[in-house]
Amino acid sequence: MSAGLPEPLIFSEIINHSFGLHLPVHVYYMWLAMIILFSCGLMLKGRLQMVPGGMQNVFETIIGGLEDFTVKNIGEEGRRVFPFICSLFIFILVMNYIGLIPGCDAATANVNTNAAMALSVFLYYNYIGIKKWGFGYIKHFMGPMPALAPLMLVLETVSHLARPLSLTLRLFGNIRGEEIVLVLLFVLAPVLGTLPMYFLFLLGKTIQAFIFFMLTMIYLKGSLEHAH
């Protein structure tokens, strides 16, 4: 839609048009992702079983696997921060996949969504670090040698500020690029051209969500572990 590209069909515009609303496109798809996740959660909450079947099995596989991965990397403390990063992963994954549905757009293809998430990650890992280490958290920014501490303070500040920026731009660039390629291929050769790309982008979108998850985990690990 933006960048002058023709979109085959955007459901949100139809909704906007018929109800006389002026909400941005990507907000709808974020709400859609939230609705999907909330209803999944509420549906599963009602009938949890000892022997999981169907959807409970899928969620247990994903969440259990990610929890093992987190605990292996961060240590036992990882269990405390795990809910945050896991919900981020699932949320991003669902938003990315919505972009693959014809007529829908990924909410992560808008830079504002990603900036909001990256900023919460930034605030969260600094909060966790300050909560654990108190004022000593500043040692994480000082580097190993006392003589170089002022220089390292500036360097670390720059690299810490670059983290949310790189998180935002990576997710935005990848997802937005994939959406543009899908639209272009749809214009060139409807259905036939886009179908093979779906497999590639399914992988690409999963990997992008996983990268966001993994980087958040690495940052949290950095703020939880002892300064060098």
Partner: protein, 91 residues
């Protein structure tokens, strides 16, 4: 899910792919953050080109340091996997 095999662990290939995918952008972002910090500090303090140059260099250094640290992390992980004969994670 096809990317989460039997034990539910993310596969080694996927972990490697995502690690490799993160390195480049951090370098670029650090450079730009350094540039922006220098630019706005210059505007605030009125010391025209000097802080811009200094902070740009600092940003580039910070980016390279990040890449270096990331590479060392990958190397350490690799050694761990080979030494301990990790449970099917190194593919």
């Amino acid at each position: 899910m096809m990317f989460f095999p039997k034990q539910g662990k993310p596969s080694g290939a996927m972990e490697m792919l995502s690690t490799a995918g993160t390195i480049g952008l951090q370098l670029v972002c650090s450079t730009f953050i350094g540039l922006a910090m220098g630019y706005f500090l210059d505007k605030w303090l009125g010391t025209s080109p000097w802080l811009l140059v200094i902070f740009l260099l600092l940003g580039i250094t910070a980016g390279f340091r990040d890449v270096f640290l990331e590479a060392r992390r990958i190397q350490r992980k690799d050694e761990e996997d080979q030494g301990g004969g990790g449970p099917g994670s190194g593919k």
